[in-house]
Symmetry: C2
Subunit: 302 residues, 2 copies
């Protein structure tokens, strides 16, 4: 029997002076969400639930939380629309699913799971992904409903020529987990970069870049400048470092150092290994995260 | 000074009894194309050209050859359309570009290179990729022109309920090269699987799965059941094996054995390392390919 483990992130990035989380309260909005997601996923694992279900649950909670740049609350594209990417993977059979450039579902991570379980495919993009959602009975959600008033205001301000209020805040969300049976899983979801070119796809739905899980290695979810993570096959690289004997935290830090040494880039990642506590690393000022300790408590950090 | 090296594939798969290449002539259509692509790319390398230019040239030649399932001659989707994916990567700076689900360009590999060189992004999908093409002055090509009479007839036969004439023939194309300066590059292009669900994206445009290049490791291009290659981050895995000291042919064979041992799957891959001759492996009955020997001659094989 393995000790269940979960770690959740709400994105790596910068804090603006106006950011509620800057006040430092442990349950500022950006920490409250990751804490709740980790706690609910851990409760599921402690009841004997599967790592795959735990990471999907954690990511769904964060997609539904307008604080994060995923699902409801996603950044808007240059066209003023929400375009979302997500992926999920389990480490026993290396099954995985992903969607990219999807505009009309409430929970992209669950659509990614449908790709994994209901098709022979790994990645569906654009209207083809929406078609699977409709065929599976997933209701269409209007793009307007996914775009929050705050994101709409940010878009309008940028369109009116206002200088960016703060450095880019990546709000990608993700989770990595180990269940009692020792199986690993990881999932990641994002609205992508603010004012992105329509059709731009970052690392989030790319298996091996934004997400990877292999029971023999580790489960990993990344956040940050996605293009750099793709070039380094970051999630797979971090998982390989755990496979080579590094603890999750050290593997995360070393993968990030290798990336910055080779191609630069800002971001972070979370890692769960076959044993022990979860680990993480980031080279941005902040990365909201919450994780389980061996004693079953939840820690949060920024 | 390195010895220039190029290897090109025209897809791994099966031969139907009606296939012209079954007659075994060394320059049957499927071999003539890869021979010409390799010869022209090698000539470019021998003139001192860059590996990146060589792989783009080789893949363009195969995209324009209706024999292969890439560019002109792509398989049709379930909707009867051409939907193409491609990627390209260079091994010095790990720069890369990719496009997926593109319907209206003559040479997807060159659009992938535009993504690499004219944007901050790695992957553009669907209409967003076409928009970049138009902005860069790449003319729109009608979907009808990319669909050959042979592919149209195959689609109509399937729609009329005719049994499949032959097992799936993957006709994905790719190239991997090393130039005199010792730099590596790889590129891959495909029309995807016959009658695929619109929006389905395989390994071809996924950096680390269908294509990878790193001067410190190897250049790799894959072909086959793309979803299996994604799950194994196949191109990166093969490159890592070269980095661990295996010759390209052994790295290709070992990566393929690991894939089949873990998740099954049919296909093949080509590999160029920092030194020595190119290598390849496939577990399908055939994989058309052409490669350069150290003496500057071109070999072909099925």
């Amino acid at each position: 029997m393995s000790i269940p483990a979960i770690i959740v992130h709400g994105g790596a990035g910068h804090l603006g002076p106006d950011d509620p989380a800057s006040s430092g309260g442990p349950d500022a909005p950006r920490l409250a969400g990751v804490r709740r997601a980790a706690a609910e996923a851990l409760a599921l694992l402690q009841r004997g639930g599967a790592a795959l279900d735990a990471v999907e649950l954690a990511v769904r909670i964060l997609e539904d939380d307008p604080t994060y740049n995923a699902g409801t609350g996603s950044c808007l594209t240059a066209d003023g629309e929400v375009e979302m990417d997500a992926s999920i993977m389990e480490g026993e059979g290396l099954r995985c699913g992903a969607v990219a450039a999807v505009k009309d579902v409430q929970n992209p991570v669950s659509l990614a799971r449908l790709v994994m379980e209901r098709t022979e495919h790994v990645l569906l993009v654009g209207p083809g992904a929406s078609a699977l959602a409709r065929a599976a009975g997933v209701p269409a959600v209007s793009n307007e409903r996914l775009a929050t008033a705050a994101q709409r205001a940010r878009f309008e301000a940028a369109r009116a020529g206002a200088p960016a209020a703060a450095p880019a805040k990546h709000g990608t969300v993700g989770a990595a987990a180990r269940d009692r049976a020792g199986h690993l899983a990881a999932a990641t979801s994002t609205g992508g970069t603010f004012l992105k070119r329509p059709g731009r796809v970052g690392d989030t739905p790319i298996i091996g870049a934004g997400t990877y899980a292999d029971d023999m290695l580790a489960a990993v979810s990344c956040t940050g400048q996605g293009e750099r993570f793709i070039r380094m096959t970051m999630a797979r690289a971090a998982a390989d470092l755990v496979g080579a004997g590094h603890a999750p935290a050290e593997a995360a830090a070393q993968a990030l150092r290798r990336m910055t040494g080779r191609v630069g880039g800002d971001g972070g990642l979370i890692v769960v290994g076959p044993v022990g506590e979860p680990g993480f690393a980031h080279n941005t000022p902040v990365m909201s995260r919450a994780w389980s300790r061996a004693d079953g408590t939840i820690e949060v950090g920024l």
